[in-house]
């Protein structure tokens, strides 16, 4: 068995709801290689966020286990950086101090920490906003701070839960390009959650489609569009072809949920 960076093994999540078992995730398996960018897409409520929370150690799975670099996780830890959809910045701290906060547990001199923070501020394009408070920033800028904060302490993997979901579509496009740039500079393994198929294809090496509840791995698609990518690849025939296939798969699942709900 080769060691994957992230290994999700037979993970199931079952809640009790009105006395009946309520299956959110059903025997989910996934292996992610070092420096791979993997995105999970699925209909709302398919359990993709639950999956990410389990990998992050914030939720304990009913059965199954998650390994990072071959060692089993038990709870959250500094080997996994997390970017949430929104409301995750410390509003009482400036941009620099928000990023610096993540280095609290890092053994490193103050000057060295400051330097590192500045490096990441440059990386996410926030030079000139070091002393600004989150409330003075736009939604896109706030998420850039969140990304810098999740990367600055160099976790082994980066987990992103619909980080651009609350942004308008123009900002979202810019943020996707920025993320690819930052990811290119600081190569790391990414597990990304979204419901936006374009976003998934644009960013990823591999896209996973989850079935609607209970969440299972429905389809896997390797995206072979060469890197570096910019927005123009969205009209590329490889892009269109992947999109066709993935949209078809998701649509099937969406129809299922609509059928069971009406």
């Amino acid at each position: 068995m080769t060691t994957s960076k992230i290994r999700i093994e037979n993970v199931s999540q079952v809640y009790e709801k009105n006395g009946a078992p309520f299956v959110v995730l059903d025997n989910f398996n996934l292996d992610i290689a070092q420096n791979e960018f993997v995105t999970v897409v699925g209909t709302s409520g398919c359990g993709k966020s639950t999956l990410l929370n389990i990998v992050g150690g914030l939720v304990e799975p009913t059965t199954g286990q998650v390994f990072i670099d071959g060692s089993r996780i038990s709870g959250p830890g500094r080997d996994r950086g997390f970017v949430f959809q929104s409301y995750s910045l410390f509003e009482w701290l400036t941009v620099s101090d928000n990023i610096l906060f993540a280095l609290k547990k890092t053994a490193m001199g103050d000057g060295e920490k400051r330097e590192l923070v500045q490096h990441y501020i440059e990386s996410v394009g926030l030079v000139g906003f070091e002393k600004a408070y989150p409330k003075e920033l736009s939604g896109g800028m706030r998420q850039r701070v969140a990304i810098a904060r999740a990367l600055v302490y160099k976790p082994a993997v980066l987990l992103m839960d619909e980080p651009f979901g609350a942004l308008d579509s123009q900002t979202r496009g810019m943020m996707q390009e920025l993320l690819l740039k930052v990811w290119g500079e600081h190569k790391t393994t990414v597990l990304f959650i979204t419901h936006d198929v374009d976003e998934a294809i644009f960013l990823s090496d591999r896209v996973i489609v989850m079935s609607s509840r209970p969440g299972r791995l429905k389809q896997e698609k390797r995206i072979v569009i060469p890197r570096p990518r910019n927005y123009e690849v969205m009209t590329d025939s490889l892009f269109i072809e992947s999109k066709k296939e993935l949209i078809g798969a998701i649509r099937e699942e969406t129809l299922k949920t609509m059928g069971t709900r009406s």
Partner: protein, 281 residues
């Protein structure tokens, strides 16, 4: 409400029709000056009505003396040094009663807001106590704490703490769970999360709780000084009742109201200075 700048429009631009007065539009802003003038004007209206009613002899001074007697009473208390002595005694009691309540309410509220364990343990008890009439507790507090200042602190503490702790709990609960999750993924301990994330995040709201609860402490002042006090603003009012000194009573009430207002503004202003980050754009 500002008029459109005519010069900025060219002749083809249709001139917007003058809109009806929008002073009473739902949730719309009104000019700042008007806003202030309304508050001052209403108080002025009350004063004028008061003056007219008493000046015209419609009401006997025993029931409501004219505003001038109240002012005179105030001046007398200042000259005789009574006012300062009363006020400092009362402010001291307020600060102690409220201070002790706060000292306990903040940590306990934080625990209750974050751990269901403590919420489950304390909330039923607090809910029982906070409906108890504080006045009815006077005999017990005297029995337990004597008739000194400590008994006054105790009354103010009881009147404040049980409300305050629940408010702090709610303040803390309103901190987004995602902030706590960030702390967990950064490897912080539970104590570090409470201290470095939950407390600073909830602080502006807790500060507002301080402001509101100190107002309540002020309202319990008369109750605290009802029995076995020989000075204080509340005591002065209770004494005046015996001699039917209506002007002393009314001056005392108004002065407590005034001090409450000052306290309120101190909290509002300091809150703005302390939590600059909370103002946004």
């Amino acid at each position: 409400m500002t008029e459109p700048q005519q010069s900025a429009l060219n002749s083809n631009t249709p001139v917007p029709k003058k809109r009806r007065t929008r002073f009473l539009a739902i949730r719309e802003d009104i000019p700042r000056n008007l806003y202030i003038a309304l508050g001052a004007g209403f108080i002025l209206l009350l004063l004028v009505t008061w003056q007219l009613a008493t000046g015209a002899g419609l009401i006997r001074p025993l029931f409501l003396p004219p505003p001038a007697s109240i002012v005179a009473e105030g001046l007398r208390q200042v000259q005789e040094g009574i006012l300062w002595a009363d006020a400092s005694a009362s402010i001291y009691r307020i600060l102690m009663g409220w201070g002790f309540a706060t000292l306990f309410a903040v940590p306990i509220g934080i625990l209750m807001g974050n751990f269901k364990f403590f919420e489950g343990m304390f909330e039923p008890f607090i809910d029982i106590v906070r409906y108890m009439p504080v006045v009815a507790l006077i005999p017990l507090t005297i029995l337990w704490a004597g008739i000194g200042d400590f008994q006054k602190f105790l009354i103010l503490f009881i009147g404040t703490f049980f409300q305050q702790v629940l408010m702090v709990m709610d303040n803390v609960k309103s901190v987004p769970i995602s902030l706590i999750k960030v702390g967990q993924t950064l490897g912080l301990s539970r104590f570090e999360i409470l201290k470095s994330i939950v407390l600073p995040a909830a602080m502006p709201n807790i500060w507002d709780t301080f402001r509101i609860t100190m107002g309540w402490t002020w309202t319990y002042l008369v109750v605290a000084e009802l029995v076995a006090a020989n000075n204080g603003l509340g005591r002065r009012i209770m004494d005046a009742q015996r001699y039917l000194a209506t002007d002393t009573i009314i001056f005392g009430i108004l002065f407590i109201g005034f001090l409450g207002l000052v306290t309120d503004y101190i909290f509002k202003f300091s809150g703005k200075v302390l939590f600059k980050w909370n103002q946004g754009q």
